[in-house]
């Protein structure tokens, strides 16, 4: 148990010390938030609603990014550098190692959520009820699981450069097409019809619904659960094939 605790702590420290995390998952979303709520889109109808909506977009954008990129690229790095192989000699089991990573990521996601929510409250005075803040936070935390699974799928790649490139493209496509940068309603209809099926849209939409006083839609739950299942199965399948090849 001590080993698991120490491992989780180590994973948290490693992410916090990663400049990419600080830049992509904290600084970037907050800068975007300022640009799209203070510089552009000011003086529009439903200003407050937009500020709350876009705060959720950026928080979801941030958490999705660290789930896919931080986790995925790190997994590839650890394997490429022989660290994962070395860990196999220690008594720490693969399962404990994996779950320590998940715990570490979840703690980091909680931290990102708190930081970005606070930024929204400070910058625009976004005022939600305590229950709404909490529900949004929990939704984003739970909704990050399919993206963590996608991260482990990216983590099966062989080269760090490939993993970084591929995960960047996936991340940006998901963010843009899922309506995280610009609401889906402002996009051409063919993009909208694709967008509503993406995990990113369903991830964001749950939180967008909550800030409007609704509950996440059933489709959001179902699709995220489906993507989680799909990515877990795929990444297990790929990993098992790789292990069998040795």
């Amino acid at each position: 148990m001590n080993a698991f605790f120490m491992q989780s702590k180590a994973e948290i420290l490693r992410i916090l010390r990663n400049p990419y995390y600080v830049f992509w998952s904290l600084a970037m979303p907050i800068v975007f938030y300022v640009i799209f709520t203070r510089v552009f889109n000011t003086g529009i109808d439903g200003q407050q609603e937009w500020q709350a909506h876009y705060l959720m977009s950026m928080t979801a954008f941030s958490v999705m990014g660290s789930a896919i990129m931080t986790l995925g690229i790190r997994l590839v790095e650890e394997r490429a550098q022989g660290w994962s192989k070395f860990m196999k000699i220690t008594p720490l089991t693969d399962t404990a190692y994996f779950f320590a990573k998940m715990v570490g990521q979840t703690v980091i996601h909680t931290f990102s959520i708190i930081v970005i929510f606070t930024a929204g409250a400070v910058i625009n005075g976004v005022a939600l009820t305590p229950a709404e803040w909490l529900m949004c936070g929990l939704w984003i935390l739970a909704g990050s699981f399919p993206f963590l699974a996608l991260g482990t799928l990216i983590g099966t790649m062989k080269k760090v450069d490939t993993a970084a490139g591929v995960s960047n493209v996936i991340y940006m496509l998901l963010a843009v097409c899922g309506g995280m940068w610009m609401p889906l309603e402002t996009m051409p209809s063919f993009l909208q019809s694709i967008g509503i099926w993406l995990p990113s849209y369903n991830f964001g939409n749950g939180a967008w619904q909550i800030v409007q006083g609704n509950a996440p839609e059933l489709a959001n739950w179902l699709l995220l659960a489906g993507y989680l299942f799909l990515f877990v199965v795929l990444s297990n399948y790929v990993r098992r094939n790789q292990e069998a090849a040795v």
Partner: protein, 299 residues
């Protein structure tokens, strides 16, 4: 004495190539054994199977009587792999403490620092920023973290300077005196000869010799007596003398290869007259090692 490691008819095939071919040996508690061989002999593959990192294609590998992958085994072994890899974004101290937490009875932090020779200022450095030598010291500390009974070192001194090498082997002696079982691979004959009580010689995936350095030396080295000839003599005739295995002429000197230089000398004295400037060469293990591996390659 207890058998710590036991390999039976172990073969490992990668695609079509046999990296390890029908190897059997066992290592007893407290032994210091060197797996010696040229590059590509199958040393690292064998070690990886003992560590449970590779599964044998056929045959069995047991460590402490169990499958090398079992948790019980992992708690009692430590290893330094050939490619030293370090976790990033953690300081040396943090990595060592993390590794200590994996084991039921770890060595104290201070003792690990002492054993590995890590300096105070190095402990605060990020592991990925260490130099090659410092990384080696860290990986040694990590190998020792759980106070292991069995230690595996894969080509431990590659990339070390002479001073670090000396300190490393001194530490190995210290560990040996504490009763640890130590297995290391090397392609430096001298290291195997100086440190190991036993040499397991590999070539082309096969175990070709197994014994104490002295036994291996006796088997491998060719002693010889050489002299300058003063008159034309029948070289062929010398071949009939007792204990002579081979006669050759190099640069005006006649070389008599033998297993008993004393006997050859006494025969030569009896014959008397045609020789001058006799030299006895006890044979260098390096030459023998080279010869042996070359010979086997030629076969």
């Amino acid at each position: 004495m207890n058998e710590i490691i036991c390999l039976k008819d172990v073969t490992k095939t990668f695609k079509d190539k046999k990296a390890v071919d029908g190897v059997s040996f066992s290592i007893r508690q407290g032994e210091v054994a060197a797996i010696l061989g040229p590059n590509g002999a199958g040393k690292t593959t064998t070690l990886s199977m003992m560590l449970g990192l590779l599964q044998p294609s056929s045959g069995t590998v047991k460590v402490l009587g169990e499958n090398p992958n079992s948790r019980k085994v992992r708690e009692k072994i430590g290893a330094m792999l050939q490619e030293v890899s370090v976790i990033d974004a953690l300081t040396v101290k943090e990595v060592i403490q993390l590794f200590r937490s994996y084991y039921p009875e770890p060595l104290s932090f201070e003792e690990l620092v002492n054993l590995s020779g890590l300096k105070e200022y190095e402990l605060k450095k990020r592991a990925e920023k260490l130099s090659g030598g410092q990384k080696r010291r860290l990986s040694f500390a990590l190998a020792m973290a759980g106070d292991p009974e069995v230690l595996f070192f894969d080509e431990p001194t590659v990339g070390m300077d002479i001073h670090s090498r000396k300190i490393f082997w001194q530490t190995v002696h210290l560990l040996k005196n504490r009763g640890k079982t130590i297995i290391f691979t090397t392609h430096y004959l001298q290291e195997a000869d100086d440190t190991a009580e036993r040499i397991i010689l590999f070539h082309n995936g096969r175990l070709i010799e197994d014994g104490s350095p002295a036994e291996i030396k006796a088997k491998l080295t060719r002693k010889s007596v050489s002299f300058r000839k003063t008159e034309a003599i029948n070289i062929k005739g010398l071949e009939n003398l007792p204990h002579i295995q081979k006669v050759s002429v190099k640069g005006g000197r006649v070389h008599l290869e033998t297993d008993d230089t004393d006997a050859v000398l006494s025969s030569l004295y009896k014959l008397n007259g045609f020789w001058k400037d006799i030299q006895v060469d006890s044979g260098r293990l390096e030459d023998a090692f080279e010869q042996l591996t070359e010979e086997k390659e030629a076969v």
